[in-house]
Symmetry: C2
Subunit: 253 residues, 2 copies
DNA sequence: CGACCTTTTGAACGTATTCAACCGATGTGG
DNA sequence: CCACATCGGTTGAATACGTTCAAAAGGTCG
């Protein structure tokens, strides 16, 4: 398998230059959000053997590309990614934004090649989880198999939520929904719920939300005028959560 | 488990009133599209034990409801379904249309409750696949586990395609894409590629495509005027595939 | 510091929606 | 079995929302 060979140098780098405990799932504070989930200590120790290597990805670099051979799923250890598709016309559709503890590359499982591209929006680090090893391990640890299924199914649920957003919501509802969602995800990782730095450009956010970058910019300005948020470029501070929620509940009123 | 009790009568009905071979995956002409996939004959025989029962669902009836307890995944044997979500405002978002050989209910795996609703758009019949049994069987048959993963991942890929449709395409591109897609799916099931009966209303199709029913209706009329299709209510005949494709390639031209 | 990328804002425009009326199909009860 | 009620579909006209085009200011990085 050529992929294994390709990974070796990275693995050696980890083993030689980093303290061992940093490489284990047991000590990772993202464990519960990640593939190990709620596995017992014993099983987590076994899953660690799946974490084949780490990989650093610089801002602007692709973790994997659409059409590339699928070997592994990636668990984000630090940093921020977007996943996207490009259609025949060259139009990009951002399908998601991902942060620490979340998995990317699941779309490759079905076909042997990645369906989309994952690009780092800031310098990031991921754990490489070779799919063949995950499958093998899942056969031995039923709880892991169940959790893997849950992870896949949750991605489906997330996607359906995005369909709702794109298909049924008005522009302001989309942005409000996005802000509330990403705020929650930051909180779970120990960051501020109200004060954060968006890593994506207005264009990338617009693509995800099915809007043009100018519309996104205008909405940020409008929300600020309403006193709901405070925006300065990519830095967002949520001032009035209820205000954002009122966009969703009230509808047009 | 109350669900098992509820299923019993259906199972008995099958065993008593239907010839046995009709209940097996081995003899099902949708086998390759369905959960068994490309399993060898021996494994297919074992998977048959998972097919716990059949269930008939009349037009307009729900196979399962959002929030309901998740017990089983359903393989469509005959008929046609829509899956949908309803948001806080009561707006419906159709997340997909499903036909013979396709699986619905996967969205329940992650959380123990179904995330959306599946409703029959014509009198239908499904195979009930209790999830606990699938998991058990997947542990014993690696090929089944792999195929289950592939099915879940393919749903993710499909969803990403819908995001592209909703987020990046213009109204006419959306309808053209939909028509070409459903035509392909009919073909794989042995039906005509060019002559079919749409089971969903304009409103349901509009919801799926992120458009209003009037817009869908206008687009059908416009496509007919172009000489690409022939529409009479729910009956559609594709006259010029290249014409439909030109909407996608040409863009505005 | 200078070049480039990102963001903001304005004004004109266009696409899809909304509101409304009408027609046809379907199904139910007298 | 027909009459009528209801639902689904089509079409038109006015409207609204988000886009497009454009210009300028603010950041960022070599």
């Amino acid at each position: 398998m050529p992929a294994v060979i390709a990974l070796k140098p990275v693995m050696q780098q980890r083993m030689s230059s980093q303290p061992k405990f940093e490489g284990t799932c047991s000590s990772c504070n993202l464990r519960e959000l990640c593939l190990p989930g709620l596995l017992c200590a014993e099983d987590v120790a076994r899953v660690e053997n799946v974490v084949y290597a780490r990989r650093r990805v610089k801002r602007g670099e692709a973790l994997f590309n659409a059409g590339g051979e699928f070997n592994a799923v990636y668990a984000i250890r630090s940093g921020f990614f977007k996943t996207s598709l490009v259609d025949g016309e060259g139009r990009e559709q951002v399908t998601g934004f991902f942060m620490g503890g979340e998995l990317v590359g699941l779309d490759g499982i079905g076909s042997g090649t990645y369906n989309g591209t994952a690009m780092a929006l800031e310098d990031s680090e991921v754990c490489v989880l070779p799919y063949a090893l995950i499958e093998e391990m899942a056969r031995e640890i039923p709880a892991l198999a169940r959790h893997l299924h849950a992870v896949l199914a949750r991605e489906i649920v997330r996607d359906h939520g995005v369909m709702m957003l794109l298909g049924s919501m008005r522009a302001e509802e989309r942005l409000a929904t996005f802000l509330l969602n990403i705020s929650k995800r930051f909180v779970r990782r120990g960051y501020s719920a109200s004060d954060f730095h968006l890593r994506m450009t207005r264009e990338e956010l617009g693509s995800f939300l099915g809007l043009k970058l100018e519309t996104v910019s205008r909405l940020f300005s409008a929300f600020q005028k309403e006193g709901w948020i405070d925006v300065q470029q990519k830095h967002v501070r949520i001032v009035d959560v209820a205000g954002l929620q009122s966009v969703l509940n009230g509808g047009k009123s």
